[in-house]
């Protein structure tokens, strides 16, 4: 009887530790890539050791360790990102972030104030700028720190979908979806990194949402617009699931 009770307690203990480990592993993605790649595994191991030392047989005692560890992680991430974004060799990434914010505000302003003028060429240029910047950020988010010519080409590759979507929204949506899925799978297979597919998928979802918004806001009402944004988010989730599988398969093939 006591043995059974002890086993149950150990199981509860193990589950609590496992949950804490998974939470910490996920939050490690708050850190910049270079620090995470270099020390992520060691940090995770150290945190797991720390949790195992503090937790009691019933899985209690984790809360203070988690609170301290996560606060330290978030504070460290903010400091690291501040240093990273303002480092001299990362100016392009900071500039892209700033431009993205400016472009987003411009688009928001145009939608609120001049919804009827969206098909104009100057607005088209605005959307292209936004897409290029978002693609650059997505590319950087997926593992590359620089805004390359290839990134801009990727953004411009969405242009046919944008134009087709003005007349046939589903065609445009399908085109962009296929493009994002292909890019996300490619990114996952190229990097062979854990969660690379998920990150690319989420970035793809953001791109899909913004692109579909840009496509449909010209021909539909608010309901259609929000429906398409939701569809874009769902696409991102689907892409993330698919690419996570692809990344897993790649890892298995690299490290059987």
């Amino acid at each position: 009887m006591r043995g059974g009770n002890g086993t149950a307690l150990e199981a509860g203990n193990g589950r609590a530790l496992h949950r804490a480990d998974r939470l910490y592993a996920r939050l490690l993605w708050l850190l910049p890539g270079d620090l995470r790649r270099e020390y992520g595994a060691a940090m995770r191991q150290t945190f797991a050791d720390l949790c195992a030392a503090r937790v009691d047989a019933r899985g209690r005692g984790l809360t203070p360790v988690l609170a301290h560890g996560l606060a330290d992680l978030v504070g460290g991430a903010v400091s690291e990102w501040t240093v990273t974004l303002f480092a001299r060799d990362r100016w392009h990434r900071s500039a892209a972030t700033g431009l993205c914010a400016v472009a987003g505000l411009l688009v928001l302003y145009s939608q609120v104030r001049y919804p009827a003028n969206l098909p104009r060429i100057d607005y088209l240029a605005q959307y292209l700028l936004l897409l290029a910047i978002l693609a650059a950020l997505a590319h950087g988010f997926a593992g590359r720190a620089t805004v390359s010519a290839r990134t801009v080409c990727c953004a411009l590759a969405t242009l046919p979908g944008w134009l087709a979507g003005m007349r046939f929204p589903l065609v445009g949506f399908g085109y962009v979806a296929a493009l994002i899925l292909a890019g996300a799978v490619g990114a996952a297979r190229r990097d062979g990194q854990r969660y690379a597919g998920v990150r690319a998928g989420v970035a793809g979802g953001v791109l899909a949402g913004v692109t579909v918004l840009a496509v449909n806001v010209t021909i539909g009402g608010a309901v259609l617009m929000f429906a398409c944004v939701a569809a874009g988010a769902l696409l991102g989730l689907a892409a993330s699931a698919g690419t996570a599988v692809a990344a897993h398969a790649t890892r298995r093939s690299l490290h059987p």
Binding site: Y39, A41, Q45, T46, L50, D72
Partner: protein
Amino acid sequence: MTEQGEPRLTEAAFHILLALSGRDRHGYEILQVVEAQQGTGVRLGTTTLYRTLRGLLRDGLVEETDERPAPDLDDQRRRYYRLTPAGRAAAHTEVERLRRLLAAAEASSVARRRTPGLAH
């Protein structure tokens, strides 16, 4: 800055150097030593530990060592660190600086114990 022109160690860096002064240790051991043995009430977080270690490695005050315990006592994700001669010298400089600071504090009125009934 110290009188030698070297940048001053942060508190976390100083604690890590002290923890490594005895022998090579991995991350969790460093945290244990900082928290338990030094008894200063300092509690380093995992992120702070590795961010600081990265700086110490870059400055050559600490080095990573390949010497590991037996595989059944070890986890491959653990990384072991060792104090370098430069790290030992930096820790010594910091100790001297703190010693001077403490001497100055003890000489000041702040450290003088108040005598009951005399203070007005």
